[in-house]
């Protein structure tokens, strides 16, 4: 994900009030789907992901004037999206007064009933395995497995050290492997 130049161009245009909307439109085209899928893998349901992604981009637009270029733009946006996802899941737990396991069970059923899931049996098993993981391990696994992000980048997103991330990731992969093997 070496988009430094393009990100710099987006940020430059965003500073000018005349080209601000154009800059944000470019940002949307470039990162909309990435952010959406990152959210979707966390919340599973399309409608929830739809609402959250919209909220995330509004928040990005509001916060972008204060963005410091010492961080990468996309990791900064991932961080916003991640925080929104965690807030959403925690609120859902509180609202329904259910445990994390129950949330996982509910999301698993939602996945099975979803008309917007087109995976095969193995992919369904993988998603169910992911639902058994703690939020942080799931986040690390998703960013590593699907987005192929480096630990340093994930570290920027989650604000966790690279060593801790490696540990979390290996724990997550071992659990998933065990789940897949057990299911098989």
């Amino acid at each position: 994900m070496s988009n430094q130049v393009e990100d710099a161009e987006i940020l430059e245009k965003f500073q000018d009030e005349k080209t601000r909307n154009q800059a944000f439109n470019l940002l949307l085209k470039k990162y909309q789907q990435k952010i959406y899928w990152h959210i979707r893998r966390m919340v599973i349901d399309h409608d929830d992901a739809d609402d959250l992604s919209q909220d995330v981009f509004i928040k990005i637009w509001k916060s972008l004037p204060g963005f410091r270029s010492d961080a990468q733009l996309y990791t900064w946006m991932y961080r916003i999206a991640t925080n929104e996802c965690i807030t959403f899941i925690n609120r859902k737990k509180l609202k329904n007064n259910i445990s994390l396991d129950d949330v996982a069970h509910e999301l698993s059923e939602s996945l099975a009933d979803s008309s917007y899931f087109d995976g095969d049996k193995a992919q369904m098993k993988l998603q169910k395995a992911l639902l058994t993981l703690p939020e942080k391990q799931k986040l690390v696994f998703n960013m590593k497995y699907y987005d192929e992000m480096k630990y340093e980048e994930i570290s920027e997103v989650l604000g966790t050290s690279v060593g801790a991330l490696k540990s979390s990731f290996h724990l997550a992969v071992k659990k998933i492997e065990a789940f897949l093997l057990a299911e098989d």
Binding site: N21, R40, H46, Q54, L180
Partner: protein
């Protein structure tokens, strides 16, 4: 393990996971991202409007909020001063006792109302209502048909006539009403004639009083009584009772003669 292995080749260690298709199993509705992009941009424009017009189009004067803050602080300070120095005070526990007093009064009033002892006949208030309504109906009938009538617009015409004969009549002078008045006493000749007559009357009266001694004698009771006594009786009286030689020595012979002559004249006229 270098970065490449760390990031890309870790999957080789997990056979079951490696067999899973890494492709995206999730789908979205058709044209979702295109429509989503437009929707987000619309929302962004709305947000821009909100930021561009934070007061929803309402405008306030420059420094309004600074002055508003000062005004509010001044008002608070004034209220505090007024409250602190209002001068009114009540005794300690006044309001507690007031509450008790009020409650006692209420209890007494309720007791009195509940056991007032006064009763009215059955259906009294129903009949009272009917009686009042009847009285009102009779009064209304009497007021509307009192028998006396006046011609139509009588009172308007009456008012008009009164106004015509009073306020609307032109004012005539009193002098015109009474005719010509001649003031005689104002003329100088009349004044001189009156003064001359008065002086003549006064002068005549003074003259008569000065030259007529008999008038003086007439006014005295002693003279009147002595004038009726004869001279001879007086001489006899004096010879018997008085000191004649002494009297004769003190009497002025001229005045005695005049007196005697006056007496004689008086007797003649009588």
């Amino acid at each position: 393990m270098n970065n490449e292995l760390e990031n890309m080749e870790w999957l080789d260690s997990y056979e079951a996971l490696k067999r899973v298709n890494r492709g995206n199993a999730f789908t979205v509705p058709d044209n979702y991202f295109q429509e989503k992009e437009e929707l987000i941009m619309e929302n962004i424009r709305l947000e821009q409007l909100k930021y561009a017009h934070p007061n929803n189009g309402f405008i306030v004067l420059a420094n309004y909020f600074d002055e508003l803050t000062k005004n509010i602080e001044s008002r608070i300070a004034i209220d505090e001063v007024l409250n602190a120095e209002q001068g009114f005070a009540v005794p300690a526990n006044y309001f507690d006792e007031l509450t008790k007093n009020i409650e006692s009064r209420i209890a007494i009033e309720e007791a009195l109302n509940a056991e007032s002892g006064f009763t009215v006949p059955a259906n009294y208030f129903d009949e009272l209502t009917k009686n009042i309504e009847s009285r009102i109906a009779i009064d209304e009938a009497l007021n509307t048909e009192q028998g006396f009538t006046v011609p139509a617009n009588y009172f308007d015409e009456l008012e008009h006539k009164i106004l015509q004969s009073t306020i609307n009549t032109p004012v005539r002078s009193i002098q015109q009403e009474r005719g010509m008045i001649r003031k005689l006493w104002i003329s100088k000749s009349f004044k001189y004639a009156s003064a001359a007559c008065f002086a003549l009357v006064v002068g005549t009266a003074v003259m008569i009083s000065e030259f007529n001694d008999t008038a003086i004698h007439k006014r005295s009771d002693i003279h009147k009584a002595l004038s009726k006594v004869s001279d001879k009786d007086i001489e006899i009286y004096l010879q018997i009772n008085g000191d004649t030689p002494a009297i004769m020595e003190n009497v002025d012979p001229n005045s005695l003669n005049s007196l005697l002559s006056d007496e004689a004249d008086q007797n003649k006229t009588n």
